[in-house]
Amino acid sequence: MKASRRAPIKDGLRESALFQRRAIAGFAIIVALLATLAVRFVYLQVVRHDEFSTRADQNRIKLRPIPPARGLIYDRNGVLLADNTAAFRLEVIPEQVKDLDATLEALGSVVPLSAEEVKRFKEQRRNRRGFQSLPLRFRLSEDEVARFAVNRWRFPGVDVVPYLTRNYPRGAEFGHLVGYVARIDENDLDHMDMGRYAGTTHIGRTGIERYYEELLHGEPGYERVETNADGRALRILDRVPPKPGQNLYLSIDIGLQEVTEAAFEGRAGAAVAIDPRNGEVLAMVSVPSYDPNLFVNGISFSDYRALTGSSEHPLLHRALVGTYKPGSTIKPFMGIAGLELGVRRATDTVLSTGEFHIPGQDRAYRDWRRGGHGRVDLIESLAQSVNTYFYSLAMDMGIDRLAGYMGQFGFGSPTGIDLNGEGSGVLPSREWKRGMFNKPWFPGETVIAGIGQGFWVVTPLQLANAVSILAAHGQRYPVHLLRATQLGFNAPVEPVTLSPPQLSFIHNDANWEAVRDGMIAVVNGPTGTANKVGAGATYVIAGKTGTAQRFSRTGDEVDTHGLDDAQRHQALFVAFAPAQEPRIAMALVMEFGASGSHDAAPLARKILDHWLAPEGQTP
């Protein structure tokens, strides 16, 4: 066996034949296997072609939202109050960044990033999908844009994106009224239509910007872009343009607003002026204010501290939510109530002795003049602001009729102006007190309600609205700021259609005229509390002063001993003019003022002059 296995003679022909058989077998196997491969190609390229073709396109084509340009905001004359300016921001697509922390750190050496920006970015990241780009920094300077462009290759998934940023050219003047937009945060995401806000980074946060967010925002467009594996857009395939938001024209008059704000000279207070013929708000001022531009791209911590830490509360929109005792400014409304309800006739008189008593009670309710004003009728009571007349009127009317009638002027409920978060004030009534304190009503509370004290609280807007209703003979127009809209820059300006006024609730013109004459006497009569204010006016002002004890908005007790009048009192003034055919009605509150006649009324004169004096603009 061994010998045969070691046989040196090889059979060449046999081996050759063996090889040929093997070569054929091997070739057959190879062809079979390559045929399998070919079948796999057929499977991918024919059977599943459509699927893979789609996936290749999905790979390649991304739908990119184009945010709409936000509508602009103008005053009634077309003066710009909020516009959009071109800027650059830094955006990150988290999915395409391998090491986010390292990237952010490296990025910081190219474009400075504050800790706040990084923190905000990370917070946003948590709730968004990885392929969505997130803004990291807004308003890059030209220098920063250039520096990033040079270093861009180092940062896949990071890009500089041009965008429009909101700008408020008037700054603090319209901080409260126009408000501001701010970056969309996690709370917004809950109640937002993500489709409509695709690509949008800001949303109206306060003021008109918030209330008319729907109109201002517009509809986003889309573009289909071809992107590479890094997500960089290489070319645009097609594009559906966005529909820009509507431009808004407010009823505000920039001149009147400026004059009104200037009149305060920086002292805390608020003023609202309304056109009684249609309910348009002509001016709405709250002092002090703040620069809304600070909020647009995220306010810095120190700026925010400065605003919230100030004792003057600049963030508070006093005209809208500030609460003040109306004091004597309520007297014209009491007067018309007395006449219209038949409790008094215009000629009825009351004897003012300096003190008023509820029958059977010891407590004295005082007049502001020691010793009283003597026998006075309605007109004289308004002119001199005689408390006793209104004490007894309130007693005779009773709280129920008083509250019911005053409700028609809008006291105790929001005016429904086109701003969010309006305060409703307090119109004292039995029901209100029971609901609030679960206590019965006392007659003394009716007495002081007659002169706008006690529980009674109003917002400056409410007070101005009530004056406007009075000026319009009891016709109630919806108070509003939006005057007209415009769908695009070439589109016509469309006036806003408003619901018609409710039917007047003042039935007897003579009653109205009596109250008006009383208010004219306040400003023009020899005994009027503000009789210096009317001097030299080319039109007739009907007004009423008011002075109220200050009280703390926060509710804590303030020790008023040792403070002078200006620190203890709030000064108010309400007016409409011209008295015959009113074109403007207003209310003004000074938080620190000795009296309405000294501190509030002269300011009102400046404001009315601007609107009504011959050299002033007319609407």
Partner: protein
Amino acid sequence: MIDSLLQAAAATARRQLRRPRLDHALLWALLLVAAIGLTTLYSAGDQDLGLVLNQGARLLLGGILMIVISRIPPATLRNWSPWFYCISVLLLVAVALMGEGRGAHRWLDLRVVRFQPSEMLKLSMPMMVAWYLHARQLPPSWLDLLAVGALIAVPAALIAKQPDLGTALLVAASGVFALFLSGLSWWRIGSLVGLAGAIAPVAWHYLHEYQKNRVRMFLNPEADPLGNGWHIIQSEIAVGAGGIFGKGWHHGSQSRLEFLPEHTTDFIFAVFSEEFGLIGVCILLLLYIFIIGRSLWVAANAKDTYSRLLAGAIGMSFFVYVMVNGGMITGLLPVVGVPLPLVSYGGTSAVSLLSGFGVLMSIHAHRKLLRD
């Protein structure tokens, strides 16, 4: 003296010239594949002409090497075989001890040239196995099988350890094919396959983690679409999106937009499939089948056992390239770094492949003539 020498030289030259040096059919097929390769490379490399010229130069170098090798008679090659094998294995050991490379130890820096000794084995392995079996009684006995097994396993293990699974596979395959062609009986082949199946779980244990991951993701690529499976999915998308007629030259979005990884090297077949479609794929596969078939035909006509086994092994190894690469880009096989022969960008594989065909040409030139 001089006259007779000159006469002898002239006679040799005449004899040499009468025998066709190169097999024209095989040569044309190789040229065609190389032309397709350069065309595809121009598109896959973002129309970078420099890349194409670079690859063209390498192919030219490989072609020159092929012609030079084709002049060496198979008998000389046979005598060199053991030395060539020993040197390449020694270099492999040297690389293992002091080699350098990006992460993987593959390269040997000889100051003048840097090269991968593992590439040498693609040729020295079948030469060695053929040399060994040439002197034996065929079909090989169990003892021969064991010896050949050792000859194959040692370098293959060294290469796999580098780690370079693809080359290890090609090297081992070239040896195994020589064994197969020597007439190893079917039942022994069957029992060896059975043994391999039994060893596989043990081998798995010794694989590098990245190699294990490649196998894992091959089994389920969609499980991790952004990580390891990404390559396979993007490649399948490219192939599938090509359809029957392809998207056309330069119009393959998958590679142009860089969704395909390694689109000039290991995944160039996917670019080709996307741009030229099923028709292009079939033409290319038929060309490859022709090259393999022609190589086996050359082998069958070879003069002796050594030449037969060597030529056959080289031809069949060519198949492994095509199958492993094609299987990878279509998701049929795991991702193993094997280039598509003569198409993928890269000098080493082009040079070693064409050297192999040089050997084939030499065997063809010294084939059995009718007179013999």
